[in-house]
């Protein structure tokens, strides 16, 4: 059966993105494959076998069009309030913490944060569906 292994996004600046993903989520470079016209960088951490793949197209300097279809990558954390405070202190500008309800039921407590290219990442309190 198919197993989810990674999600790929195109980014402009390898170093800038790697710094962000390490600072924000502890994701570091597990592999890096350099080709003539592009570079692939696989980011992972000890929490999951699922990786984030960055594609850097050499010579591209205009921002990517993020469209309105793709939404976000979501990560769970053990203490979303502490992470929000840490990322605020790090100057990464997380958006406000939200208690997301469906009627009276708390679905999730989360915030969004944008990476250097503008991709949104949802940071969710770990538990239930968001293990």
């Amino acid at each position: 059966m198919a197993r989810a292994v990674h999600s790929m996004i195109r980014v402009l600046d390898e170093a800038r993105s790697c710094t962000f993903y390490e600072t924000a989520f502890g994701l570091t470079v597990a592999d890096r494959l350099d080709f003539d016209s592009f570079t692939l960088i696989y980011l992972s951490n000890a929490e999951s076998g699922f990786e984030l793949e960055l594609t850097v197209n050499k010579g591209r300097d205009t921002p990517y069009d993020l469209g309105d279809g793709y939404g976000h990558l979501a990560v769970s954390v053990a203490d979303v309030d502490a992470e929000h405070a840490r990322l605020t202190a790090a100057g990464l500008g997380p958006r406000k913490l939200v208690d997301f309800r469906n009627g009276d039921t708390l679905v999730a407590r989360f915030f969004f944060i944008a990476d250097p290219d503008g991709y949104q990442i949802e940071v969710i309190q770990r538990g239930g569906r968001f293990a």
Copy 2:
């Protein structure tokens, strides 16, 4: 530490997408949350804790702009040739199988397939980086 838990895409037709993801990847509805203006559907299978979240915005009937930034979700399979044949027979139109090399090194054997909204999914032979 942050743990990757899902990726979210916006889709037009819930039933059409659910049928595709179940047929193609064995992903079924783990949870479904209905709100006034949108529905969230979480798809998963037994291979991974990582889920695909579909957002259906009610009343939206124009295709989403997929842009050129987001790339794809990747899944690994035990036998990529067999999966290619199965998905071809199912009429899902996978693109051709590719041996992707970096110089003399085989990086991956894979194909791409598009979901009903045009999102690309990479199907990779399981092994090495793509466990």
